[in-house]
Amino acid sequence: MSSKRILVLGPPKSGKFTFLKELTGSTPTLSANSTSALTSAETTAEQPRPTHAGLSHTLTLSTKYFEAEVPIWIDEYDDTSDDTGIRGWATSFSSADAHEVVSALGAIIYTFRKPETLDEYVNVKSNVEREIRIIHEMLISHYESQNMEDGQDEENFDELIDWDGISLAVAIPSATAKTLSSDDKNKESIEFDAEEWETLLQPFGFEFIDIEQKGRNDYGELLGLDRIKEALETYGWDTTDEAAGARQRGILEGYDEYDSDGRHHGFGDDDDELDSDGFDQELREMQLETAALHFAMDSSSHQRDGQDGEIRQPKPLPESDIDELEQIMLRMKQVKERGEGLPLEERKKLADELADDLLRLL
């Protein structure tokens, strides 16, 4: 099971189950507890509709590069004529408790019903825009607070995490659409201009998808359900946030040598030949340091002599010091020989050991 989840969100009767059936091939099971409590407004003869909030399901993604089982959460908010329903949802999702929930999301899929008449069209359009905007604001404030918590400010671009999940707004055909089109020839068919909706929702980072469309468009892009699957496949369902942050940084810096863990491999990290050069460099540096030490010892002995005001022969280095240096040189040579042909990790370990030894010797 992947660590990240998909959130399917929408007002009641917006086609979430229809969507899930198309996407996964099955619908989520309604739990016994999901029946909503009867309020005074609902004490009519109608049966209370069980809420879909809190249900879960699974999607299996299978590509030529990976396979993943992604858990899906389903959530619902009240369908009110103003924003109170979605705002209530956004507020609860902005609370400290919901913080982990939002961090665990890899995709948000917002579903809504296609309008059937021209009048509805305008309403639906403005509703959807409002609701998507609220969801978008919730995400921004979540990551803002997250970055503040982690002590990151704008200066420190390295680990700024942003919403890197997939955001989709899916238009589900109305449940009664089929009966309408065959009977009522007087009604104008609504032209659903995908481009108009794309432009509407793009500023909020949401991609518009009409689930009824099939095939490819003029750009060779997939449409409808295939596009939904394609978009979901491009997310790293099994990576951690740190890896994702490091990879974002890596891409921006233009590093073309980082692996899927987000670690940067520069020159001298991978290639064997270059590796031994790097090791040689360390050795050379150490040799330089010891030479400098040697020189310092020399000159300090010079200074001591100078202070006496006499010109003396430069004092020969005490035997022990020369031995030490010889030991150091030998050790370095040994380590270098051992290091040849070993993988990177072990060479690093050897280098560390050597550094410790040298410090002790000195």
Partner: protein, 157 residues
């Protein structure tokens, strides 16, 4: 003809590749990426493929849910830049075989290698599709051979 940067942007606004031909701090790069992404993603289908951004020009083309974006000097020819982008896309398509976003995510090194064969210091250095593909396949063959050799060494053969 100096390309300043090449960016591959997904329809979801994710940067899949960024190659810089000038030296900029990480902050400046992030700013450019953010601004240019917003500009390009906000374009409608019938709009021109060229736009102005600060002192430079941005040339973009949309292919299969990816936006290929190149930033060029204001004195550069936009149509030639468009051709360069198209050539890059053709190379990638030929190499990956019907390239899609997933291919670029999971085999990004090849995308960079192909771009490196095409553009050097922001200038087109090899226009022959055949030559570029030949070199990349030679590279692949070399990598495979080295990989095998490594395995044999580890096994002590």
């Amino acid at each position: 003809m100096a390309v300043q940067y090449v960016i591959l942007l997904s329809r979801q606004g994710k940067v899949r590749l960024a190659k810089w031909f000038l030296t900029l701090s990480l902050k400046e790069k992030s700013k450019i990426v953010k601004d240019v992404s917003t500009l390009v993603l906000g374009r409608r289908t019938k709009m021109c493929n060229f736009l102005e951004y600060k002192e430079s020009k941005v040339v973009y083309r949309r292919y299969a849910s990816l936006f290929f974006i190149a930033g060029v000097d204001s004195t550069d020819n936009e149509l030639i830049t468009l051709e360069i982008i198209h050539r890059y896309v053709e190379q990638m398509d030929r190499y990956y075989g019907n390239v899609c976003e997933l291919d670029i995510i999971f085999n990004f090194q090849k995308a960079y290698y192909i771009l490196d064969e095409l553009l050097l210091a922001g200038e087109l250095q090899e226009s022959s599709k055949r030559d570029v593909l030949r070199r990349i396949s030679q590279q692949d063959a070399l990598e495979e051979a080295e990989g095998d050799e490594e395995k044999f060494n580890r096994l002590g053969i």
